[in-house]
Amino acid sequence: MTALLAELREILGADGVLARAEELFVYEADGLTHHSARPSAVTLPREASEVQRVVRACRKHGVPFVARGAGTGLSGGAVACHGGVVIECARMNRILRVDAENRIAVVQPGVVNADLSKAIAKHGLFYAPDPSSQQSCTLGGNVAENSGGPHTLKYGTTTNHVLALELVLADGALVRLGNPAGLASGFDLVGAVVGSEGTLGVVTEITLLLMPLPERVETLLGIFPDVVSACRAVSAIIRSGLVPSALEIVDQRTIRAVEASVYAAGMPTDAGAILIAELDGPNAAVAVQALRASAHCREAGAREVAVARDAAERQRFWRARKGAFGAMGRLAPDLYVHDAVVPRAKLPEILERVCAIGDAHRLRLSNVFHAGDGNLHPNISFDRRDADELARVIEAGEEILRVCVEAGGVISGEHGIGLEKREYMPLVFSEADLAAQLALRDAFDPEHVCNPGKIFPTTRFCTESNPKARGYDRVAFD
């Protein structure tokens, strides 16, 4: 390790490598605090050629590496295992080019999501994927996780907005994938890399598709007696052919937590659920769509439907949704934001079961979710120092995933698999399915030095088919 450190310092200079225990401490985990491992070093490259040299040095010394953005991920994807090296993208934070006419931007991976939208607003454009962490998460991290957000219902997730990538492969080679014009020859390797959680290489440049800012936005707040009627409104809206940009439900437990916190948004604490519906588009159409959506809410049993009169009121409505994590977080030292997807029609039944699972495990569980996508986010407030409570959190988390999969759903809608859910992959995939995914990994990184230990379960078959793999994926750690 000393030899590797010396080499890394030669590449990046003394201030480009962190290796003291107190410096490494903050890199032990990401937003999922109960999985942690200390890296052996953190590197801070400024450009692709330095990333290439770091990767080659790691490979020479047989040390795995992981790229890291802001560390806001919620599945442990950016945690370095096996004494691995972190390639921190904080210094690769430049917006390289904005081409307003063609609605594209070329960025380095360390650019913060919200900073891009701020920088391009003057051109009448925005970057659509808007994960809750958008004020701090990076676009490189978004590419790794195929991040979503409330507005993906209409605009799609990260993968729908990435046109081209520059990628450092596990052997240090630099490749350009895709084409800014969007139709490159050969296989769609950009599509394969987005959402691969940093296991196929280190992204060093991203070409993104930008969207025109809508002429008008209407934000509705529906107050419902219960979650079931709010879900019914969501189904009615979708079935009618409306495509809102967001359909978000907040349950009563969350409303009460938010209202008792600094995030209080003036929501009625006796409401069973609130629905935030946002519609955007041309002036001519959006007002009519908002009326139609309001009518669907009323028919489904909303006791009250309000339309935001101005930007301040819109922000207030959204505070009830976006303040949920902060409000739940203040109830205990740790917050587990779970993530699963079910077919939308199953939401009411699944939510009831999710709450029952939380209650059975004596946990503080509440729900905010992307109802339009069927994407659940049960939030559990807990204290990881309480071993018994942590065990109950994990048991409940697994039960929730099983219930969602039985309903025809999947185990992650936007947070990724990472360390958190790798052992649950067999709930969704057969051995053959997983082998087909590993085949892609082997094509990119036959030795599995690139962010090992993520996505794939640590059971027998994972790496044995590939004699070149060093077996990092198989070794459990924590």
């Binding site: 993968t159 296989f187 769609d188 001519a284």
Partner: protein, 408 residues
């Protein structure tokens, strides 16, 4: 040594028909496999891989001429009988269909609902599997990848795998669906697909106007909020769509969406460009043109480069049909009879693409002209990775051998 074709026929039984050599895509095909289920499909692939027999994978055959040649196959694998019972969820707006169904059959299944299939690959009888495998773009909808939720795929290793699912948001594992859409049957055989459907619009209007000389004006018209199709057509096609229109180029636009949005865009196009009504079958005519006979290339560029691209393609002797909002031009060449003329055309297209920073590919040309040359675009720095991906899924090289970029 036993005849591998006879052995294949014995193993696969009635789904394998041995016949007199059938010349197709430069191959002499000695048998046709026509699986009726994914189990039969994967059994066929496993048998082919064991015997190291190359197979030409076909749907209805509308995109066969968009590949490198010759194909080093001895067998044809026909996917048109992969027609399992559809699953359609009208509440959710998602559905699963077998790969062998034609797009028209899929649309018929959705008739009477508010949902439409967001795929419109050119070619009368395109199958769903073929439309996804070729990632063919029609005039109307975006890339098939954007509406794909999940796939079931038969692999050459004898397994059927799934990727994605039926839900509309999913980051569970690698997104192999993206890899297989547009992979032209080189990595596996798509047996069925879950798709996100799109609501049918409240109103549609089709308009045509003389193309504005200012390319930016054409681009902003093509980007009208409710514009679902926007095509720059040449004088001949313009005259066919609107006999009263006398213009060297015209912009044909289909608006679709809410009543109010369509009306606002229609009024603006009439006021700004003097647009007039175009026939209801305008989009069908555009699609038919995209699938026209002869030699066709497609070039994708940034929208700002489209005007320059069309100029260069025109100078190379092509008729063009272009989609400004997407930055796509189709270039049509009337009958090049010999290979040297074709080589000049291809070089002209490749040069036009290079000078405008675009990506080109051949969409159709007679077999004799394609043989022995790269027709699918430029080999770039990713080719080693592309080859590694091919090896990972088809180590024996039995799927469409020789037909991919770089003879993959």
């Amino acid at each position: 040594m036993s005849d591998p074709i006879a052995a294949l026929a014995r193993e696969l039984g009635e789904i394998c028909t041995v016949h007199a050599p059938l010349p197709l895509e430069g191959a002499q095909l000695e048998a046709t496999l026509r699986p009726r289920s994914e189990a039969e499909c994967v059994a066929a692939l496993a048998a082919l891989a064991r015997a190291k027999l190359g197979a030409l994978i076909t749907g209805s055959g509308t995109k066969l001429a968009a590949a490198n040649a010759p194909c080093r196959a001895r067998v044809r694998l026909d996917t048109t009988a992969l027609r399992e019972t559809p699953e359609i969820d009208l509440d959710e707006g998602v559905a699963r269909f077998g790969a062998g169904m034609t797009l028209a059959e899929v649309e018929a299944q959705l008739a009477g609902s508010i949902w439409r299939l967001p795929l419109d690959a050119p070619g009368e009888s395109s199958t769903l599997g073929g439309a996804l495998a070729s990632a063919a773009l029609g005039p109307r909808f975006g890339h098939p990848r954007d509406n794909l939720l999940g796939l079931r795929i038969a692999l050459a290793n004898g397994t059927v795998v799934k990727t994605g699912g039926r839900v509309v948001k999913n980051v569970t594992g690698y997104d192999l669906g993206k890899l297989f859409v547009g992979s032209n049957g080189l990595l596996g055989v798509i047996t069925s697909a879950w798709l996100r459907l799109r609501p049918s619009p409240e109103r549609t209007e089709t308009l045509i106007a003389p193309a504005p000389a200012d390319a930016q004006l054409a681009l902003s018209a093509a980007r009208a909020f409710s514009a679902r199709t926007a095509a720059l057509v040449d004088a001949a096609l313009a005259a066919r769509l609107c006999s009263a229109l006398r213009a060297p180029r015209a912009l044909a636009i289909e608006l679709a969406g809410d009543e109010a949005a369509v009306e606002a865009d229609r009024a603006a196009l009439v006021a700004k460009l003097g647009a007039q009504p175009a026939p209801d079958d305008t989009v069908a005519i555009l699609r038919e043109t995209q699938a026209g006979a002869g030699i066709r290339f497609r070039v994708a560029v940034l929208p700002s480069e489209l005007h320059a691209l069309c100029g260069l393609l025109g100078a190379a002797g092509a008729r063009t049909l272009a989609f400004p909002a997407r930055g796509i031009a189709h270039a049509f060449f009337a009958g090049a009879s010999d290979a040297s003329v074709f080589a000049v055309l291809l070089a002209g297209v490749a040069d036009a693409a290079r000078r405008t920073g675009g990506a080109w590919t051949l969409e159709a040309a007679p077999l004799g002209l394609r043989s022995g040359r790269e027709v699918l675009g430029e080999l770039d720095g990713s080719i080693a990775l592309q080859r590694a991906v091919k090896r990972a899924y088809d180590p024996a090289g039995v799927l469409n051998p020789g037909r991919g970029l770089g003879e993959i």
